[in-house]
Amino acid sequence: MSAVQTTSPTQDDTRRRSPMADVFFSLMRSRTFLVGLVIVLFWVACALFGEHFAPYDPLADDIINALAPPSSEHWFGTDQIGRDVFSRVIVGSRDILTVAPLATLLATIAGTALGLLTGYFRGIVDDVVSRILEAFMAIPVVIVALLAIVALGTSKATVIIVIGLSFAPIIARTVRSAVLAERELDYVAAAQLRHESAFHTMFVEILPNVIPPILVETTVRLGYAIFAVATLSFMGFGIQPPSPDWGLSISSNYGMIGGGFWWTVLFDALAIASLVIGVNLVADGVHGALND
């Protein structure tokens, strides 16, 4: 997934930028994209309005009905203190769909700025920064996150910052390679001849032209951010109780899996799986539409 090859626009003068409409129609024709979009929108709707159509309060316990298997009353059964699993799965989308997109946004902003700077100025700063970023990318996100969260204490903000900053180098790399191709083009030379400031050339002239690869990388990263947030929550370093978050629910229920209480973890696992796959389908569709 990470090996998205950014094809720079062709360098001849006859290049024509495909208008937004083109991209839109090609997205609407992509089955991958549409299927992914439906899945993602479903979970977004659950995150926004979940508590209105969830049959029970996701946090209300009911000890007498604890660990009830799925039935017409509790579609997905109940957990160890009798909370309705169906309602929890519905509302459980909220925290992950807040934290992961914000982390991705942070990664995109930081990564784009870094990529523009290193790609535009090149030279020794670029060499040093790029090597360090490359070396940093080899460290698994889980390890970085664990260290930072143990040192700083866990909160949604820590998780967002840690994941955002760990993903920034990857986006920076993509942006940098796109900028390297762009900066050889005439419009950049023209801006430089006009004595535009480096800041103006980078952010006003070049940035709009490297939006497509950034967009692709961002959607791909969103999938990984969901992966990372869910994993951290499962390990107890991410979203904290009493949130009905999926990863968190799995971590508090999987200990009883040997007793055959499969419904307390299966639906949360399937929810994470569907969201991650949905986002990746969208990313695939966006990649396809922008590289046509």
């Binding site: 700083l152 799995i250 899996i257 299966l266």
Partner: protein, 309 residues
């Protein structure tokens, strides 16, 4: 090669910062909020955490290199034996996953490339991609439910009985290695597939076919050798990933490896244990990258030619 050393250096700084600088007053953390300030100062002095940062870092690295990894806050005994034991266990788990995934992943990629754009290719490519993007604990939970709870074929915990023989251990390791297998399968199969497609499309393959070599010889001698080179690099870079996966998988399966050691140390704020665990896997990663670079240069005829000049 140098890059993996930079990674290791970065990791050591992060570990040092995360484990020794950011948490603040170590003496206070150990003795608790009600301890006498003089006792805290004395302990800080004994532990050496009141010295300049650079000295502390240098001492820490030097001790680590000599095998002195410090004393666990929780177990009150040297960290090194715990780390070595755990590393051994993790190696077993990683070995099972690798032994399964490398041949099967390559085979999957090769089969997909030979059936390019046919249903078999679609199934392998799409299936590989879908399982690759899923978090390990999600595939782990689903696999536990299928093979451990419903079918009851495999044990749901990786903790084998004492004095278990090789095959019993292997039996207990199959289920934990499967989630790692699934994530890695997608990457390896995809690399092998694109390497194959490129090699099949190349001039030397066409030459080999046109000079009348049997198809089997062409595939084995000309295509596979060239196709698999990039795959080796991918497999090496995936060791870094594999380590991240181990933390999750070992926690899920309650396996006493380096991943669960790091996890337990992190939960208990046992910093010497946490730091040593993370630095150890950093070293393992650097060594794996070195081995891969070496293998690559041995297998790649172009690099061999270059060094002769």
């Amino acid at each position: 090669m140098s890059l993996s050393l930079v990674t290791l250096f970065l990791l050591s700084i992060m570990v040092f910062l995360g484990g020794q600088v950011l948490p603040g007053n170590v003496g206070r953390a150990i003795l608790g909020p009600f301890a006498d300030q003089r006792a805290v100062d004395a302990l800080n002095h004994t532990l050496g955490v009141d010295r300049p940062l650079l000295t502390q870092y240098a001492t820490w690295i030097w001790n680590f290199v000599r095998g002195d990894m410090g004393t666990s806050y929780i177990f009150r005994s040297p960290v090194a034996p715990f780390v070595i034991d755990a590393l051994g266990n993790s190696m077993k788990l990683a070995a099972v996953a690798f032994v399964l995934v490398v041949p099967i992943g390559i085979l999957g990629g090769v089969v997909a490339a030979l059936n390019l754009n046919r249903p078999l290719d679609r199934i392998i490519s799409l299936g590989g991609l879908s399982v690759t993007v899923l978090p390990e604990f999600v595939t782990g939970i689903i696999l536990i439910l299928i093979f451990g709870v419903w079918l009851r074929w495999l044990p749901i915990s990786a903790a084998w009985p004492k004095d278990a023989g090789f095959f019993t251990q292997l039996y207990y390791l199959i289920l934990p290695s499967l989630p790692l297998f699934l994530v890695l399968f997608g990457y390896i199969a995809r690399m092998a597939r694109s390497g194959m497609i490129e090699a099949l499309d190349s001039d030397y393959t066409r030459t080999a076919v046109l000079k009348g070599l049997p198809w089997r010889t062409v595939i084995w001698r000309h295509v596979l050798r060239n196709a698999l080179l990039p795959t080796i690099t991918v497999i090496a870079t995936q060791t870094g990933y594999l380590i991240g996966g181990l933390v999750v998988i070992e926690t899920l399966f309650r396996y006493q490896g380096i991943g669960s050691l790091i996890f337990t140390a992190a939960r208990g704020k046992d910093f010497p244990m946490l730091e040593s665990g993370i630095l150890t896997i950093g070293i393992v990663y650097a060594v794996a990258t070195l081995i891969a670079d070496f293998l690559y240069s041995v297998l790649n005829p172009r690099i061999r030619l270059g060094s002769d000049q």
